[in-house]
Each structure stands twice: as C-alpha cells, then as structure tokens.
Amino acid sequence: MGLSREECDDINNEVNSQTFDLREVTRGLLEEHRNDAPRTTVLSCLLAVQEQLGYIPEEAISEVGKHTGHSINDVWGVASFYTNFRFTPPPKHIVEVCWGPTCHLLGAMDVLVAIQTKLGLTGEGDLPDGSIGLKYNTCLGACSQGPVISVDERITGAMSAEAALAVIDITLNSSVE
C-alpha cells in the first residue's frame, strides 16, 4: 500500500538478486513438471515444488504465478488454503501423528504427549536446531493398524508411547552419521 509500481519493482529486484538461486531452481522444477503432467495448474505446480524442495519458498509463489498466468495473490490464496504446504525450509525429519478418531480411541494422545514431551514442544512445530519437526495429521489412512505415526512419510502402526519414542530415537540417531 502506498508504494508505486516502480518502487515495488525496485524492491523486488533487490529481493530477486539475493535469492537468484531458488528462483532458478523453481523455474527448472516447473519446466520439468510441465513435461510430465498432462495439465498444470497452480495447485499441481505448488505440489511439485513442495515435493522437491520440501517447502514453498517465497520465490516459488511468484514463479508459479508467472508459469500459470495467475497473480501472486491467486497463488498465495491456493498455497495458504491447503494445510500440507509449508513456507519455511523443512527440518531434517518430520514426524506426523494421527489424531483421527480411531487412533484417538486406541491411545494416540499418549503417543502424542510422549513425543511432545521428548521434543520439548507444546503443539505442532520444528525444533530450533532443525533436526526434527512435529505435525498433526487428521488421517494417515492405516486406521486398522492404529495408533499410527509417520516418520518422513514412512508409516508405522500399532504404536505405543514407548514404541514411538524408540522410533524417534532411531530417526534422530540416523541423522548423526
């Protein structure tokens, strides 16, 4: 608000020069995506970017806009709507805990509290050192094996608090190597 078009462009150019790399990376990704998808949309581009980078960098918002012929606001509207998109670089590992009704009845809250206590978190979020992050999931799709958690998209069922802590330990240790 209050900025002229030129001023905006100046600021944008300044930002662009600092983040040249991510912009290039995104462009490459989107080209690749266009080649292997029959139809590209704002959503499919964003999913492709997140799939590769693990998050949606700011540069990607405007690049996806250019690529699909939409305004930045349109792209941002889509990106902010779906809860799977994140806008900061991801931690090394992401743990998702299912809190759907089946897992809840079978003890998902014990699992969740154990993980939160271990990581020192009170809700969702990443550890400051970027080693691991916790996310809630409404249903991971393996209800018959609940409670279920997923570590880096690998789903593990029949969890208990102890088993979950063991899984986290293994995960954290594996990244030391």
Partner: protein, 584 residues
C-alpha cells in the same frame, strides 16, 4: 469380442497359467498402506532373499490387502503340494520357518495358518469357513489381494476388461446405461444417489468435451476402502471409469487422489500407463471408434475437497471451496465442461454390473440399497479390516460375525459411522440393518463405510470434541455459519469437557447447529452439527454428568487434547513475506 481383446486375453491366460505352474511357488503378500505400517515390505524382502538362497523357483508378488488387517502381514502361498493357503501374521523372524514347513515340507500345521482356499488340508479350515472371510461377498474387492495390481494382464486373466470389450463391441451406450439403471446401483461416496440417474444427466449434453471424475479424496478418518481399492486393484476403477465414459459419451476421465498417498497414486498411474500401452484407454479403444483419456489429479490436504463442487475447484488448481448450485456439474462442471462425479467404490462395481447384468446386482442387498457395503472396521474391535458384505446385514451381525466382537471382554458403547460428520450411534441400535434409509432413520449414516467401535471406556463428550475439532479444522471458511459455528461449537464442547459447561450451552449449541444447517453451501456445514446432535440424542447422560457433577464418567476427558485449531494461514506462515505485492 474384439480382436485386440482376444489377443490380450490369450497373453493374459498364458501368464496366469505360468503363475500356477506346479514347479513354481507363488507368494502374494499384502503391502498396501496397512501392511506397510507393520513392515510387510520387510517380509517381502525376507521371502525373496530366503527363497533365492535356497534356490526355490518362486514368484513373490506385492498385492493389495485381503482385508483381514488384524492378521497382517498376510502371506498367501500357492504351491502344488499345499494348494493355496493364507498365513498371518507372518513377521520377518518367522519367514524361514514358514518356508521350511509350508513350502519345503508341505506341512501346514502352523499357528499362523489362517485357512486354505482350495485344498482340504488336515487341521486347516477352508477359507469359506473362516469367520470374517467366508461371510463376505466380494464384488468390488473381487481382485484386491488376489492379483498383482502392478500387472494389468493379471486383471485381464480374471475377466478384467471383458465388460468393456463386450460393451464396445456389442452394445450401445444407451444399453450400458440401462444395465446400470437396472442394477439400482447408488453412489457409495455417502449420498447414495442413484448412479444411473446421475449418468443420465450427462448424456443429453452435446458438448464433445465431457468429464467423468473419480473421487478418491477420502479424507474421512476411519475409512480406507477407496485407497484400498485403488492400491489393490486400480484396473477395476479404470474399467469402470471408461464404461461410465462410454455410457455417457464423455471424453475424459480424471482420478482425483489426495497427495502424499504414494501407494494408491503410483499404482493408479502405473495402471493407467499400462492401459494406454495395451490399447484399453486412449484413442480408438480396443480398435473401436470410442476414445477416452484418463489422468490423475492430485490435491493438497483439505477435507472439503472431497465435496463434488469443491473437488472441481481443486482439479482446476484453486482452493477447494464449494461452488453454489445451480448450475449443477452435469451442466457446468470442471473447466466449465459438463461433468459427473463418482466415488471409487461406485465405479469399481460397474465392470461386474455390465458383465453379469443389472438384474444380477439388483438381487443383492435390501430394499432400495442394492449390492454390497464395503466396510472398514476399526477401533475397539477384534478383527479390524476391510470387508465387503451384502447390504441388509445388521450392525450386530457385522460386529459379531465379521468383526469378532469387542476385545478384552469389554462392552460396546458406541459406533461412529460414515466419517466424522456421521456422528455417534448408541450400541442399543445395533439391530439397524446396513441400508441407507434404515441407517438414516436410526440417526446415523452409512457414508463411506467406515465404522469405528468404541467400548465402555470411551466418553461420548471426548469423542464428540474430537469430531468437532476435526470439522472446525477442516471447514474451508467460505460460509460463515460453518466457519464461525464450528469454532463456537468447539469452544463450548471444550468447556463442557473441562467440567465448566452449563445447561444453557446445550441449547445454544442446538441453535448454532440449526444456523449451520440452514446457511452452509455444502455437506460439511450442513451436517457439521451431526456429531453433537447424535451425541445429545444417544449419550445425553455423559453430557449431564460433565455439566452437573463437573467430572468425566470414564475419565477419558482428562487426557491431553490435540487441538490443531488455527485459521488459514497461520501467522507464522505469513511472517516471511517480503514481497511488496503480497504485503498490499
């Protein structure tokens, strides 16, 4: 029969015969999402390594889940000596023993043996007598777990694409539509709308570009049957979709899946690629004049995107918020073209209906609910899994004969059916039959087929809070009665859960519920009060104990409550924005 299909069938039959060669052992291991979550892939690796080490000629296939998830990892062994036997659970450490005993010595006296499919063996029950398996009627699930979903020829060897071939070579689109009409098939996504009627809406449109969408968003916690079918037998969905396209004169099919579910996504993409290669979809299908294209469309995490108009928005790449109707999708749908949306389960019945006739299907089921129900049983139940039974079974029979009752001698208290919007049903209504109208009359919905069992340790207030927290989190925010109503409902039920609720809260919640029902565009807001309403109806005592005595009758309300309540986007998500265009 078309020539192309005759050749394919010959190739497929040859492959199938090879798999049943007396000198080969064929091992099928369920590795869909439920199996993978308890290391079925490790079991596959062990079998492959161990069989190779011993030099036993064998094929180890990764197949869909047979549905007996309680006994996973499931291992299905076929050899000349023992016939076809099912074992489970078989963990990695047991692989060597299983190979020694069943494959090398032909001895099936193992505690992990569940049953035999074909040969009568000493001390082993026939699968048709195994509880939970024998009383199923598998139509949509006929191939799930039986064939390798990564090889379309195995599907063809089991009458796959026979219906498509028969339709394209000998029937008119109107005849195919008539079969589906005669079958009385109704949409299995939850609304139970007559499928033939729905397809009929699309037929008259003269537009050359028409879409059939297959909905596998499946955000309902407690339901995994859509993903189970796509991952275990994607070809039945592709064939059903193509038949739907033929009957309605559509040009394109889109299979819509939530991103991140790599199993179903990869299986579906691979099956589509093979179907193109084999000439089963694409230009001039099976050498006839009909052409139909199928693609996969992915969506981000959003429960509302399973709603038909929101789904079309998502296919177009926008935020999944429902559109107002009219215009209805059959007139103006995805990309502004006439469209028709069907659930995965609905489409997976279509090949068998066209092959065996509508009348055959209409004789299964009860009243107006024809065919079978594909149920996902989970929670406090012994035999958790995915089952297909005739509609008309009572909930009691489902729990006892299929599910095997409640574990550790506890008593059943409630059922949560048809996804989070279905609400709670008291165990006193277990004589209700699986029938869309009967379930609705009892105050529940059959919905997508998920049934979650809760025993007497579960507090209705706690579970209702969870369902409302889900609905609040997933409200897309377009209609304010839903957006605000859900937030208020959650606030109030949390107050009650914390023992600080008042009698007036109950009345206030009812009033919010009425506004949400009257003022929301889609089912999410319209049915969003259902969890509370059904809990009021069947479990008012639980609420009154919280309000009058300030305590929880079962103690489950004292546990931590995951509360992902947040507006979209969260403040942390916008903090990084430096782009001045975005700031304005």
């Amino acid at each position: 029969m078309t020539e192309v299909y005759r050749d394919l069938r010959a190739r497929a039959d040859e492959l199938w015969t090879d798999l049943h060669d007396p000198n080969t052992v064929w091992i099928r291991i369920g590795t869909t999402i439920c199996g993978r979550s308890i290391n079925a892939l490790g079991v596959v690796e062990s079998f492959r390594a161990e069989l190779a080490r011993r030099g036993i000629k064998s094929v180890v296939s990764e197949v869909g889940c047979l549905g007996l998830c309680y006994a996973e990892p499931l291992v299905d062994i076929r050899s000349a000596a023992v016939g076809r036997v099912l074992l489970g659970p078989v963990h990695v450490g047991m692989v060597s023993e299983v190979i020694d005993s069943v494959i090398v010595n032909g001895n099936t006296n193992l505690s992990s043996v569940i049953g035999s499919f074909d040969k009568s063996l000493d001390g082993v029950p026939m699968m048709s007598e195994v509880p939970g398996w024998g009383n199923q009627h598998r139509i949509a699930l006929r191939n799930v777990g039986q064939i390798d979903p990564g090889d379309s020829l195995q599907y063809i060897a089991n009458e796959g694409y026979a219906a498509l071939d028969a339709a394209l070579s000998a029937k008119t689109p109107a005849e195919v539509l008539a079969e589906v009409r005669a079958s009385g098939l109704r949409g299995r996504g939850g609304a139970f709308f007559n499928t033939g009627t729905k397809w009929g809406f699309l037929v008259p449109s003269p537009d050359p570009e028409k879409y059939i969408l297959c909905n596998c968003e499946e955000g309902d916690p407690g339901a995994y049957n859509d993903k189970g079918i796509l991952e275990g037998d994607p070809n039945t969905v592709i064939e059903g979709l193509t038949l739907a396209g033929f009957a309605t004169g559509a040009s394109n099919g889109i299979i819509f899946i939530r991103h991140g579910h790599k199993g179903p996504i990869n299986r579906t993409k691979e099956a589509i690629r093979q179907a193109y290669d084999l000439g089963l979809i694409g230009e001039h299908i099976l050498g006839t004049d009909y052409s139909f294209d199928i693609e996969v469309s992915l969506v981000g995490e959003s429960y509302v995107s399973g709603e038909e108009t929101a789904l079309m928005e998502a296919v177009e790449g926008k935020a999944a918020r429902p559109r107002s109707r009219p215009p209805f999708p059959a007139a103006v749908g995805v990309w502004g073209k006439p469209s028709n949306i069907n659930n995965v389960k609905t489409l997976s019945y279509v090949p068998e209906i066209v092959r065996l006739g509508g009348e055959w299907f209409s004789n299964i089921g009860v009243n107006l609910s024809k065919g079978t129900a594909i149920l996902c049983l989970s929670g406090h139940i012994n035999r958790r899994g995915m089952y297909e039974v005739d509609l008309g079974m009572t909930l009691q029979e489902v729990m006892d004969e299929i599910g095997g009752g409640v574990p550790s001698g506890r008593k059943i208290k409630m059922l949560q059916t048809g996804g989070p919007l279905g609400g709670l049903l008291s165990a006193s209504k277990m004589d209700t039959v699986l029938d869309f109208e009967a379930m609705r009359a009892a105050g529940a919905i059959l919905g997508s087929g998920g049934i979650i069992y809760g025993d007497d340790t579960v507090c209705a207030v706690d579970l209702t809070r969870l369902l409302i927290a889900f609905c609040q989190f997933e409200s897309c925010g377009k209609c304010f009665p839903c957006r605000l109503g859900m937030t208020h409902l959650l606030d109030m039920i949390e107050r009650i859960r914390g023992g600080k609720g008042q009698q007036e809260d109950l009345e206030l919640m009812r009033r919010y519920g009425e506004s949400m029902q009257a003022g929301s565009l889609c089912g999410h807001g319209q049915l969003g009060f259902n969890p509370v309403q059904s809990a009021f109806r069947d479990f008012m005592d639980d609420f009154l104990v919280h309000i009058n005595e300030g305590r929880c009758p079962t103690g489950s309300c004292s546990q931590y409550a995951a509360n992902p309540m947040r507006t979209r986007p969260g403040p942390e998500a916008t903090a990084f924005i430096t782009d001045p265009y975005l700031r304005t």
